[in-house]
Symmetry: D2
């Protein structure tokens, strides 16, 4: 009953489009629009205040095409025929029979007929990280990461009629299950105890006897959504009459306050030691012989003093927390780990991605020579596609435009800029999503302004308000 | 004048022995005895309350043989002829002329005539880590590390008459300069500013013009002591009429409260995350776009909330500090990094080091077969030579008996014991320096008791009250 | 004049097709057909007997579309817009001005407008390994490697009108220059001396003054061919009126007899030592003190005996040469280093690459289930796409189907098969290009025959005579 | 019976000294003297022509002190008490019971009482590489390596009365068994077949049933020698009444003609490719499809031609063999791998090892300043302690003086000298064992001559005819 109010089955969704086409004036706004559509009719604010990291949400729509644009068996077949997918790297073949999970991956390339043959024999298929090959999955996830400020991943699961794909377990991520085709029965259970609320690591597999009654037990149909926070145990069975295809969108892995402290505190100790002699003083002469697990039961004055002193110094660290620097470290990781942005045709036509010089094979020469002018209006191409980091005396613009769609396949990408250019980049970041003219950049000469703009433009980091004038 | 009261020149030291011969009933007591002799007539308590990490101490004794047993030029000559010392690894040849420091190390073996030839030409000689080759230096330092609970190192400096050996600088260790032969003029200066009090890293070299007036300016003669805390700038010149030989005994490198927090806090965050869901909760959705060095000047409500929350969580860590476990980590490092103990003849004759089975070449057979009995009285051979560490389900006795005299040349040495044996080892540790009988060990059967004792005995970790009975 | 008879300008080529479309009944025959077309009107036999590794060949065709299907500026523009090319990895920007060569590569992605901008400013563009992105270059090179039994690589050079792209030099590969667009003046010079005939390493850059008269000095126009062996010095200038685009196809790098001996002789010594005690006997007691560069001028009896004995043993190795095993090692390298085969639509429709099980989204199920039958006619999909290697007791089929188009990006790909299956694989290799039925495979039971065929089919290594029957 | 004439039992050895004390005028002559004593009464020439690498030699002396100076149980006891020996690294504890070999090594330090306790319980003790700790073993082996031009190693075996120490097997080295104490029954068997004559690798253990009748079956008593070439199977049992102690001296591991070819031929191919175009020509176009293990049974014309050509090129290599360079490579390995020389007191007093500047603690200064003069007579300290190697434009003197007594523990030691000095070093090498004066060195100025001599002297590589004059 607790779960009841978390179940929506509104049959009158206004939103009718099946494929979400971003306009991308403001990437954070677009991300909100896309997410709004995913959790509709629940409002975004309501979602974050009531469900996010708190409890599951089930939305029954009775509208089977609702998430259709994300992915389909047909696209899956096409991908396997046109890309070199490999077992284990890209595709897992699994069965879950008599409470035992087994992998059946051969080695080498996953040719479509091989995969379908496994499927015919009752195996479930997991497609890992479909954004690598599916344009729409890439598009949607790269937009959502602008909302969450965190990596957004996904897996696709295809299960033959009448089988179960995996054992009951919980994960270490916030999970959005979008049912794409067919049906699947889902059962969700509360975390087993307090220590497994919002857990840091995924669970091992459970057997049925480990579990009590589910808080949700529902047949998910195409178009339906099921969200549950990390720590909620779940299991799913395909129904007898039809296969099931769903995508699980996941986020907020290792993105907790504790993870943040892990980056924050070494820097805090470093600063405290520089600025406060108390942290540089030597440990007491006798501490080794008084403290240690072997002495845990002893209560001596020396032990108490030692513990008290350590506690004071820990508390004292709050005067030395380099919070902004630690956030920048997280931001650098975000830039390194995320998918590269997906650009619309329109964006491409107003940026280096598809505007400017090109070969004209009729005239046998380069044409369309484009120039940035003082009155050219520009903005950053995405709110979160770049990060300005000042390290020692240099200024680095880290960006994710040249990231691979395979997680962390490439080294962090950056360009080094003059420290004089830093205020211009901050100005662009803070003006977003508004356009500014090159002339407005806070630098001294117009040559410098154009030079900074050109430099960012050449890396693909800027869009112009209008396509640049060409010769 | 500030320095005056830190200068002793008592001509009536009672203690007359020149070589300190430990009796070693209690290694911590012996260490205190040895240290008492070094800083006499200052009392140990007075030393630690008045000088240690606070200010320099100068003791003029007018007793040139006082530290003679530590080391001499004669021993140095002998060592070079009988060991394969190498330039750079074991010996540095340096000059300091016109405020410029130069190294003149050739490659390869430091044959005595080569080294003396450099010396004749006015070079200073630094012998690195003399404990590797000098019995007495090894003996003294290995005893002192029982007092300090920290590595104790040393270097020997030999400077020709009329030259300066090194540029003014400060070090990152507590320094005890023991003048062994000849004379040297020492000048000591206060730390340049507050941030260089008890510094974490050694300074670069200074020029004379960087410095103001010294707080100590003295001719150190054989038998004299000069102590100064890390951060005090010092320089030294040999006098014109005679060479100078001194040993610098050093300790407390990277042994500060800040170093301790560095080991303590990752464990604290780990525990906090396990036990308190606040540390597992996700970071706020918008934190990346509100915080960062580029936003340092902005004061928004979100920024304030973020900072406040981080501060609360840091403070909250004091409920989760694994202090004893962190001390054990430091203790393991101590065991790994320290010199092996030096054993007296008497200790050897009551332990595996020189008692028990031996070959009798007259009878062509093994003789002197020795057995541990229930009434054999035993104790640990040094207070700080072993450490009991429980990791997961196993119980490890880390010890330094097989360490090399070269810093960290060997992997940490340990033996794994049954968890049932842990109380017996704690019993031995806590009984120290008293002997106990094997029968007193807290185990069930006499066979088990003998087995534990035998195991420690065979590793050289026990001495018996009397030499074991032999056949 | 020497070069004259190596110049063809036949205006009546029969062959009129502009794009070569392989039928691929026999990959070695197809390779010959393609190569025949490249060097026409010279016959293949004539080419190999008269020019290959001997002297340059120039063919003037007056037919500018002849090589058009290989590559064009238009395709280049398209590739840059649709793939993540990077400077240095994929594209070099170079100038050669006043006998000085310079690279101008920025970091990061080579967006088309950036590259065209460099071109406009007079830089030459080198596209490295265009087979990675161009379908036709991949198709042609993967066919040619079947002919040469060796890696076939390529680079594309685009030079603005009126500039020179590179300094005079020679390469370490056999070079086929196919002029694709515009014109370029080429000058070719004889090797400077005997030691630079068929050299093992490329030369440094020469200046004009190092060179005497060229043996070829010609304006290469679109459709013309210039071949020259490794060691022939060459230089090229774009003409003033038009840009130049050519592709250089290269092969036979480190594929000499000497390279073969390097793999052959260690095995020969190994075998000789196993089988002949002369190779296991000890060296003479005194050889160290009699031989060595310091004794080169001495002629002693011992030296002569030592040299004679060494010579005899070297000669004796010819009884122990493991020639076939060394060829297999080269073949394994070939399989590892070559491009994956390019398959025609027809081939795909008769193999796992595009036949068999597929998802029918109307019926929501897998259809087109295909089975190999005893009378199915099969053959290897390429003569040189796989190699059977027996190592110890196992049997490995190395193949290049899953190779990346980037040189050696993937580990060697292989499948392990039962040793019983080896004769069937040899039978398929030797029957090529003829089809055989599954039933003809030399194994005992029909189940075994189908199993072997299925195993190779599932890896994409077989084509069937007709598409397999489907349900 | 075959073995009979290989057994000596001469009771009248002239040579009576028990410890061999080298005079060391000529290290090669000294080595011959020492070896002569080991194999007496067999003459050295007779040994090498009749037994070396050919068949076993047994010498029964009835003189139990003959090899006494090498090693004893008493010295073994002393070593364990005064050095940190470790199980596995330095000492193995083994049993061989019921045809099964077992190791019983604990971890950590091998305290004497632990080792003797194992011995008492019937275990055999193997002391690995005793030269590390025993002065005499080091002295003898370092001398012998001057004779063999190859590493000389050793192991000591101590076996309790009435036990067998190891299983029947053969080794990959020439073995000299010197019985030191007690008795042991040895049985030696012929190699099992032709391929195991002078084998490259040691055998696994055999069981008694693998073996036929021994060719030697003898009780070896203290003072006796048993030599057998690699490949001869052997086993040994201690007798019931007394323990056995022997040392096995071994040499000529991987020092065969085949090993030499392995270093020689890569260089030969390299030179052939530089000088002869035949080696640079490409392999035939079709070789990959005609050759390979799968085609072994085919005899085609192409295959025959390919094989013939390969054979010719292999034969042709004898014109390009860099024999002296390959010997230098072996010599460099010899210098790297051998024991450092053992110097006599007399040698030390005429070299930097114990002559020249020293500290006089009565006068508190350096005395005994020594100078090399033009008429100083000098020679290399050992024939084989250094090797002159010219690499590119530099000249390196590799030497073994600073080697560790642990095999290859240190990097190769060398000094770089001016190429002008090379003839002087060759002059010294070729003059050995005669002294020359510094003035005789083939350099232009007397300053240069003294400089070269000083440089070698300072590295310990020279002895002077008389101790240098001192102030």
């Amino acid at each position: 009953k607790n779960a009841k109010k978390d179940v929506y089955s509104d049959k009158d969704f206004e939103d009718d489009e099946e494929e979400y086409e971003p306009v991308m004036f403001d990437s954070r706004q677009e991300a909100a629009n896309l997410f709004k559509r995913i959790v509709a009719p629940v409002k975004i604010n309501q979602f974050f205040s009531t469900y996010w990291e708190k409890k599951p949400l089930l939305i029954k729509r009775n509208k089977e095409t609702y998430y259709k644009s994300w992915f389909s068996c047909e696209e899956f077949d096409w991908i396997m025929r046109n890309h070199n997918l490999e077992f284990t790297t890209n595709i897992d073949i699994v069965t879950y029979i008599n409470e035992e999970k087994k992998k059946h991956n051969p080695e080498g390339r996953a040719y479509a007929p091989l995969v379908w043959d496994f499927f015919q024999q009752g195996c479930s298929i997991r497609l890992l990280n479909p954004a690598t090959y599916s344009q729409n999955v890439w598009k949607y996830l790269s937009i959502l990461q602008e909302l969450f400020g965190c990596c957004v991943g996904s897996n696709v699961y295809l299960t033959p009629a009448g089988t179960q794909g995996f054992a009951p377990h919980y994960d270490d991520i916030e999970a959005f299950v979008l049912q794409l085709e067919g049906k699947k029965r889902w059962r969700v259970y509360n975390p087993l105890n307090e220590n497994e609320v919002l857990p840091r690591f995924s669970s091992p597999n459970y057997t049925q006897s480990d579990l009590s009654d589910p808080i949700i037990d529902v047949i998910l149909e195409a178009g339906d959504l099921l969200y549950f926070p990390r720590g909620y145990i779940h299991q799913a069975n395909a129904c007898d009459e039809i296969h099931s295809l769903h995508i699980t969108v996941s986020t907020y892995q290792k993105n907790s306050w504790g993870d943040f402290l892990t980056k924050l505190l070494p820097g805090a100790i470093e600063i405290a030691m520089q600025e406060n002699v108390e942290y540089r003083k030597g440990l007491p002469i006798n501490y080794l012989t008084e403290n240690g697990v072997a002495f845990e039961d002893k209560e001596t004055e020396d032990r108490t003093k030692f513990k008290t002193k350590a506690g004071q110094l820990v508390k004292g660290l709050i005067d030395y927390l380099p919070i902004d620097a630690a956030v920048d470290q997280f931001a650098k990781d975000f830039i390194h780990q995320t998918l590269p942005p997906f650009f619309t045709k329109d964006e491409k036509s107003r940026s280096i991605h598809d505007h400017g010089e090109r070969w004209n094979s009729d005239n046998n020469r380069v044409e369309n020579i484009a120039e940035i002018e003082p009155d050219t209006s520009i903005k950053i191409i995405r709110k979160n596609c770049l990060r300005l980091v000042v390290e020692e005396d240099s200024c680095f613009v880290y960006h994710n435009l040249e990231n691979s769609k395979i997680y962390c396949e490439k080294e962090p990408q950056y360009l080094e800029v003059d420290t004089d250019a830093a205020p211009s980049i901050e100005f662009l970041l803070n003006s977003y999503p508004k356009y500014v003219t090159v002339d407005e950049l806070p630098m001294e000469t117009i040559e410098d302004k154009i030079s900074v703009a050109q430099c960012l433009y050449d890396k693909g980091l800027l869009v112009t308000g209008e396509p640049l004038n060409c010769d």
